[in-house]
C-alpha cells in the first residue's frame, strides 16, 4: 500500500454530510491501491465487546479493510477500551476511520489517535448564512465552475434550510447548466420561494420601481404566499441597507465581518442605499414595522386592519415613494 493511503483517520465535527464525504474520500484513496478493499461499518449502539478485533484480524485473502467507527462521542466503555487497545497495537492491512461529532466523550481515544499521527479531517458545522454561502462557493470552486454572487444568495434562500438539499442543488446546477450559473437558473430549477419573492420585492421597492414592486407582490399574493415572511424579508433588507449605509466607508469584507453579513450582501446593500438618506430609510423601516403588526392581526386598540394584503401593499408603496424622494404616499 502506498504512502498516500492513511492507516488512521479521525473525522471530527458535527456536519454529517461533510463527515460522509470524508469517509468516501478515504475509501476512494484506499481503493486506488486495492480495488477490492472491504469497508466495514461499526455503530456505537449495536457494538459488541471484541467486535473490533474480529474486523481487524488479517483476512483470509489478505485484502485491505477500511474500518469505519461511527459516533465515538456516543461510545460506551467497551468500544473505548477496544479502540484504545487497537491503537496500542495497530493491525496491518487496516485503515481505521473514527468519527467524532463533538464533546468530551471518548477523549482518551481522540488523544491516542492524534498522538499516533492520525490524519485529521474536519467536518465543521454549516449553520450561519455565511457558512452556507461559503459552502456553495466551495462546491462550485471544487468543480471548477462559476456562480454569480446573487445566484448564491438565491440558492441559499431557496434550499438552504437543509445542507443535503443545498449540496444536491449545487450538483444539479453544475451538471445541467452550462457556463456561469445565474439567478435565473436558480429560479428555473428551484422555483420562487417566499424569501426570494420578498427579496425581489424589497429590491424593487428600495430602487423606487413602484410598478415592478407592486406587480411582484400581487403576483406572489395571488399565488397564495403568506404575507408575514414577505414583511420579514422586507424588514431584513431595509435593516441591512440601514446598517451598511450608516457604517461609513471600510471594505466590504471588513463590514461583512462587523455586521455579520456576507460580503455580497454588503455590496448589494451599498448599491441599494444609493439615493437614500437616514431619515427616509427610518421612515421606511417604520412603515414596515406597522405592516408587520397589521398582517398579524393588528394592535387591539387600533382600528381594524382591512386585510393583511392591504397592509403589505401599503408598506411597499410607502417604501417606493420614499425611495423616489417623496414623503409618505
Amino acid at each position: 500500500m502506498s504512502a498516500a493511503v492513511p492507516t488512521l483517520v479521525l473525522v471530527t465535527g458535527p456536519e454529517e454530510l461533510r463527515a460522509e464525504r470524508a469517509v468516501d474520500s478515504v475509501v476512494e484513496a484506499v481503493r486506488t491501491s486495492d480495488a477490492d478493499a472491504e469497508v466495514v461499518h461499526v455503530h456505537t449502539e449495536s457494538y459488541q465487546p471484541g467486535e473490533l478485533m474480529v474486523h481487524t484480524s488479517p483476512s483470509l485473502f489478505g485484502g485491505w479493510t477500511v474500518l469505519v467507527v461511527h459516533d465515538l462521542d456516543e461510545a460506551d466503555d467497551a468500544l473505548v477500551e477496544d479502540l484504545s487497545g487497537y491503537l496500542d497495537q495497530p493491525a496491518d492491512g487496516v485503515t481505521l476511520v473514527v468519527l467524532h461529532k463533538s464533546g468530551n466523550r471518548g477523549k482518551r481515544v481522540l488523544d491516542a489517535l492524534k498522538k499516533s499521527g492520525a490524519r485529521v479531517i474536519e467536518a465543521k458545522a454549516v449553520k450561519t448564512e455565511r457558512d452556507k454561502h461559503d459552502f456553495v462557493t466551495e462546491e462550485f470552486r471544487s468543480a471548477r465552475r462559476k456562480i454569480a454572487a446573487d445566484a448564491v444568495g438565491a440558492l441559499v434562500l431557496a434550499v438552504g434550510k437543509d445542507l443535503r438539499e443545498l449540496a444536491s442543488a449545487c450538483e444539479q446546477l453544475i451538471r445541467d447548466v452550462e457556463g456561469l450559473v445565474e439567478t435565473e437558473d436558480v429560479t428555473t430549477y428551484y422555483g420562487e420561494k417566499v424569501e426570494t419573492t420578498g427579496f425581489r420585492v424589497a429590491e424593487a421597492a428600495l430602487g423606487g420601481d413602484e410598478a415592478r414592486a407592486m406587480a411582484l407582490l400581487r403576483h406572489a399574493m395571488l399565488g397564495g404566499l403568506d404575507p408575514v415572511p414577505i414583511v420579514a424579508v422586507l424588514a431584513m433588507q431595509l435593516r441591512q441597507v440601514g446598517k451598511v449605509a450608516t457604517a461609513g466607508r471600510g471594505s466590504s469584507a471588513q463590514l461583512a465581518r462587523d455586521l455579520g453579513m456576507a460580503p455580497w450582501q454588503v455590496d448589494a446593500a451599498r448599491r441599494a442605499s444609493q439615493g437614500w438618506d437616514g431619515q427616509r430609510l427610518g421612515a421606511a423601516i417604520q412603515a414596515v414595522a406597522q405592516a408587520d403588526v397589521d398582517v398579524k392581526g393588528g394592535v387591539r386598540t387600533e382600528v381594524a386592519v382591512r386585510s393583511p394584503e392591504y397592509a403589505v401593499e401599503r408598506a411597499v408603496l410607502t417604501v417606493c415613494r420614499l425611495a423616489q424622494g417623496d414623503g409618505r404616499p
Partner: protein, 385 residues
Amino acid sequence: MSVFDQLVGQPRVVSTLRRASTEPAAMTHAWLFTGPPGSGRSVAARTFAAALQCEGAGGVQVGCGECQPCRMVMAGSHPDVRVVDTDQTFIKVGEARELVLEAQARPSLGRWRVMVVEDADRLNDHSANTLLKSLEEPTARTVWMLCAPSLEDVLVTVRSRCRHVRLGTPSPHAVADLLISRDGIDPSMAHYAARAAQSHIGIARRLATDEHARARRREITSIPTGLASLGDALRAAQDLVDEAGEGAKATSADHAEEQRRELLTQLGADLTARTQPPSVRAHLRRLDDRLKAEARRQQHDSIDAALTDLASVYRDALLVTAGSGLDRVNASEPEQIQLLARSFSAEQLLLALETIGEARQRLIANGAPLLVLEAMMIGLLLPRG
C-alpha cells in the same frame, strides 16, 4: 417580627389578612390578590398562607415568622402550600386538572391546604372552567389564592367567585425601608434602588444587590441621549434584543439539555439512544415547543422591563420641563435628564412616551421584537439642530 412585615406599605391588606386568619367568620375559601407588578401580590399570598399555618406563640401572634410552619411556607417547602408559577403564556387545562385533584386532598401537616396561583391572568377559558367548581365549593380545609395584575386581567367567571384584595404601589420609602431591614442593604443604595425600580420590590432588590443589573439599567437610561442617527437607532435596538436573548434562561443549551434528560428519564427512555421511538419523539417535540414558548416569554418580559426603564427617563425629563418638584425615578442620573429636557419640548417628550407605549402594544400583538424596537428607536431620535 411577623411575616406580614414583608408586605410593604399595605396596612389595610395586612389587617384584612390578619383578621381572616384569626377569626373564622372573616375567612373565605377563594381569594384574588391584585396589584401592579412588584407590589407584592405573591408575597401577600405567601404571608397569608404562613399566617394560616402558623403555630407560634399560642396563636396570639399569627404569622409569627419563627415557628416551623411559618418558616416552611416562606421557604416554599410546606407540603400543604402549593405555589403554581408558570413560564408559559397560558396555564393549560391539564395543569388545571391536576391542581383541582390536588386541592381535594386533606392537608397533611397544617390546618389548611393552600393553592396559590401566581399568574391567574394566564388562565384561559378552558383552564379557568376547570377550576371554577373547586373555587366555588372547595373542600372544607382548602383555600385558593389567585394573583393577577388587575381585576380586568382575570376572567369574570373566576373573579366573581373570589374575595378581592387590592394591593397598592408602595412608596419608594417603604420599599427602601424593607430592603434595609430585611436584606441588610446600605440605606443610600436602598433608596436609589427603590426609586429606580419605581417601587417594584423584586427589581429594587436585584438592583441593590446585583452590579450587573445596575450597569444594565445605566445602559438603558443612557440610550435616549445617544440616539443621534439611524445607525444609533438600529444598534440600540439590536443591543436590546441581544441582551434580552442572553438573559433568557430558556434559550440556554444547558437548560434545554437538562429538561430533555428529565423528560426522557420520566418516560423511561434510553438517554443515550440516537434515535428515539415515535412516541418519545412526540413528547420531545412538545418539550421543544414549550421551551420555545418559554424563551419567547422571557425575552418579552426582559424587553418590557427595559422599556419601563426607558420610559422613566422621558417621564423624568417631562417633570423637569414642567418644573415639577416631584420625585424623579432617575435622580441618580441628573445630566441625562437635563440634556433630554433641553433637547425635547414637552410635547415631544409626550410623543416619545407614546412611541414607547405603542412598541409595548406591538410586542403584545406578536410584532417581531427587533423590528418593533427599531421602529421605536427611530421614533425616539433626537430632534436635529
